[in-house]
């Protein structure tokens, strides 16, 4: 089938590029000067394409790679600090402070608030330090348990059993105007110190 395929240009030299009349129309012999001009035009076009492509690549790569940038987190309120009784660990939810308009319910975020004593807290991410599944608090055995691979943590967030390589991730917290605030943003992850 390859013999049917023709070069796209009508004036194509015969195979081998010998100085012979053009096979298609028998026009005059091609000259070295013509070849040089065609070669130059091709290279010129390639440079144009390269420049245009480089400029076009900026927005393409820019949007694709933008999420790799580390995004800032922000302080968000979990409501009145009084809602978290001393000695207990309670469930709390907040809207991610760095949410986007299209996030829907996915912007909702959950965490566990442990009030050690009034004014002293630990706020844990729900995400298991193993593979991110949501851990649940069991007040009776004072353990967090993960439904995915059976990771378990003590009430201070330290690893108790199972595959997690470390304790639960914690959010920085502060009390502001009677409200418990945490600094939250991206998914908690390994960049956090133990």
């Amino acid at each position: 089938m390859s013999d049917r395929i023709q070069d796209p240009g009508a004036h194509s030299p015969a195979r081998g590029g010998d100085e012979k009349p053009c096979v298609n129309c028998g026009c005059a012999e091609r000259t070295a000067k013509q070849d040089a001009r065609r070669g130059f035009m091709f290279r010129f076009g390639a440079v144009l394409l390269g420049v245009g492509g480089a400029i076009a690549a900026v927005p393409i790569l820019g949007t694709l790679l933008a999420p790799a940038r580390r995004q800032a987190s922000a302080w968000v309120s979990l409501g009145s600090a009084d809602a978290f009784p001393a000695g207990q660990t309670r469930f709390a939810t907040f809207l991610s402070p760095i949410r986007q308009p299209t996030d829907g319910d996915a912007a909702k975020t959950a965490c566990w608030v442990r009030c050690i004593s009034p004014g002293k807290y630990q706020v844990f991410a729900v995400n298991c330090a193993h593979l991110g599944c949501p851990v649940r608090w069991f007040a009776q055995s004072r353990l967090f348990m993960c439904p995915c691979h059976g990771g378990a943590y003590y009430e201070d967030g330290s690893r108790a059993a199972g595959p997690p390589p470390r304790g639960l991730f914690e959010y920085p917290w502060k009390i502001d105007g009677g409200n418990l605030m945490i600094e939250a943003g991206h998914l908690p992850g390994m960049e956090q110190s133990t």
Binding site: M1, R4, L64, L65, P67, A68, R69, R70, Q71, F91, T93, S96, I98, R99, Q100, P101, T102, D103, G104, D105, A106, A107, K108, T109, A110, V126, N127, H130, L131, G132, C133, P134, V135, R136, F138, Q140, S141, R142, L143, M145, C146, P147, C148, H149, G150, A152, Y154, E155, A160, A161, G162, P163, P164, P165, G185, H186, L187, G189, M190, E191
Partner: protein, 503 residues
């Protein structure tokens, strides 16, 4: 039944302008080995399921709203309101699983028959790329469901990416399209699922088929019929010329029958078992959930729970790379010589081990014995025969057993968690002292309860556990201690262990 003249004219007209017949005729008439029989139908069936995926996928794309705020609702709408919508989703879901299975069988057959040897190395390599493309389609398809499994499945993917040293955080950001699992995550996976990956699959399939046409279908392996790269091609073409049969109708009939049967089975499965999901709504604050991946990934889910924590990160990150490289390297590592499985016991062993490992890990992933049964403590009653005739303290101990969520990891009468051992006969294995120490201090796989239970709870619990033994079996003793006389326990009698070191 001679076709009317006008049909012939029409064909000629099109042929003169497209060359379609000249292009297609060799596809139908090329010679294939006579002895292939039913061995070679699996690739065709995979292609058939892929076609189903394209058609149903395009239809679903006309109904699906790829927005994190609306995707889940739109699936419910397709399932419940759109005429035949649920059937469309069921076909897409079942066909996806069927394609993965058929592909695995096809690959296994090629591996066992060593069809990847010269000159078909690149057939195999494109096949390996197709395998990963299809698995990526399956994973991104699971994300399209945008339910709780999809959300937490992404969380698992993100956590694995996050473990990459130095650039983990950036890779995770690229994967999720942002710092959280949200709208841009779904959009990103939608683009992958409906544009990038199907495009890649189409290209690879084209290449795979072109290579098949170029290199011909491999023959059934025969002991002694070795592959010699220097002479193979000429000899193969000679044999086909002499002994081959035309693809149509000799081989095509089997492909046709097998694909037809597969399609009927697919329709039945879809009609009887319906679509997959969507599961619970994708609200990450609804944590009363038990995330599990789709079937093709259950074995990975199982594997990551069995890895020791120390080597886990390394294995999770390196194993996939090693797996891809090993698969790609197969034909370059052994591209000549014997093809018969009986002469390649090592390869047969590797294939069998791989199949068994994936099957076993899938089963483990499905049953997840390592996962606590989250509501066992409040939902599974203490079996009555473990309560009758017990003292008030022992009954309170049974209460502590439920209260302290022991049941989430330990079963009684076969009900409860399987993370820890079943405790039906624990008193035959452990003395009260040993039980006390185990509960207080725990060990690698059991949390220490020393700080979480007070001594009254602990005493009651141990006294209950000490009653857990079959009626005529002796309680545990410290090794080396004097064996107790057989005791028949009266109802209400407190089991007193043999005093250690006394006498």
């Amino acid at each position: 039944m001679k076709p009317p003249r006008v049909v012939g004219m029409a064909i000629d007209w099109v042929e003169a302008r497209t060359g379609a017949v000249a292009f297609l005729a060799p596809l139908l008439t090329h010679h294939v080995p006579r002895n292939a029989k039913w061995w070679y139908v699996f690739g065709s069936a995979t292609l058939m399921f892929f076609t189903i995926q394209l058609v149903t996928g395009v239809c679903l794309a006309t109904l699906y709203a790829p927005s994190a705020a609306e995707a889940w609702e739109s699936l419910r709408y397709i399932d419940e309101e759109v005429p035949f919508g649920w059937m469309l989703r069921a076909l897409h879901g079942w066909s996806s699983n069927a394609m993965v299975v058929m592909m695995a069988i096809h690959m296994l057959q090629v591996f066992l028959h060593a069809s990847y040897k010269f000159p078909r190395e690149l057939n195999w390599v494109t096949g390996v790329f197709l395998l990963f493309t299809v698995l990526a389609l399956a994973f991104t398809g699971q994300v399209m469901r945008w339910d709780q499994d999809a959300y937490w499945g992404l969380g698992i993917g993100a956590s694995i990416a996050d473990r990459i040293p130095v650039i983990g955080n950036q890779v995770r950001g690229l994967l999720l399209g942002g710092p959280i699992i949200g709208g841009e995550t779904l959009s990103r996976f939608f683009a992958l699922h409906v544009f990038v990956l199907p495009g890649a699959a189409l290209g690879l399939i084209g290449l795979h088929l072109a290579l098949i046409m170029k290199n011909g279908i491999s023959e059934m392996p025969k002991v002694g019929a070795t592959v010699e790269p220097a002479t193979y091609r000429a000899e193969y073409e000679q044999r086909m010329e002499k002994d081959g049969v035309p693809f149509y109708p000799d081989a095509a009939q089997r492909d046709m029958v097998f694909c037809g049967a597969c399609l009927v089975l697919l329709v039945v499965l879809a009609a009887v078992y319906g679509p997959f999901g969507p599961g619970g709504q994708p609200d990450p604050t609804l944590i009363d959930t038990n995330p599990r991946p789709d079937y093709p990934f259950l074995w990975i889910f199982g594997a990551v729970s069995l890895l020791p924590p120390a080597s886990e990160t390394a294995v999770m990150l390196v194993a996939p790379l090693v797996g891809v490289l090993a698969l790609v390297a197969v034909p370059f590592f052994a591209n000549a010589g014997e093809r018969a499985p009986s002469r390649r016991p090592g390869m047969v062993l590797i294939a069998s081990l791989a199949v068994m490992a994936v099957a076993a890990l899938t089963w483990e992933g499905k049953t997840s014995p390592w996962s606590p049964v989250m509501n066992a403590w409040s939902a599974l009653p203490t079996p009555e025969h473990f309560l009758a005739g017990r003292t008030p303290l022992e009954v309170q101990g049974a209460n502590v057993f439920q209260f302290a969520q022991c049941r989430n990891c330990h079963s009684l009468d076969g009900l409860g968690g399987e993370r820890g051992p079943a405790l039906d006969a624990i008193a035959t294995r452990m003395t009260p002292d040993q039980l006390m120490r185990q509960i207080q201090q725990g060990d690698g796989n059991m949390p220490a309860f020393g700080r979480n239970l007070d001594s009254a709870q602990m005493t009651a619990l141990v006294s209950f556990l000490s009653t857990l033994r079959p009626e005529f079996e002796a309680p545990a003793v410290i090794p080396g201690a004097q064996l107790p006389l057989p005791v028949q326990r009266m109802p209400g009698e407190v089991v007193t262990p043999v005093a250690v070191g006394s006498q």
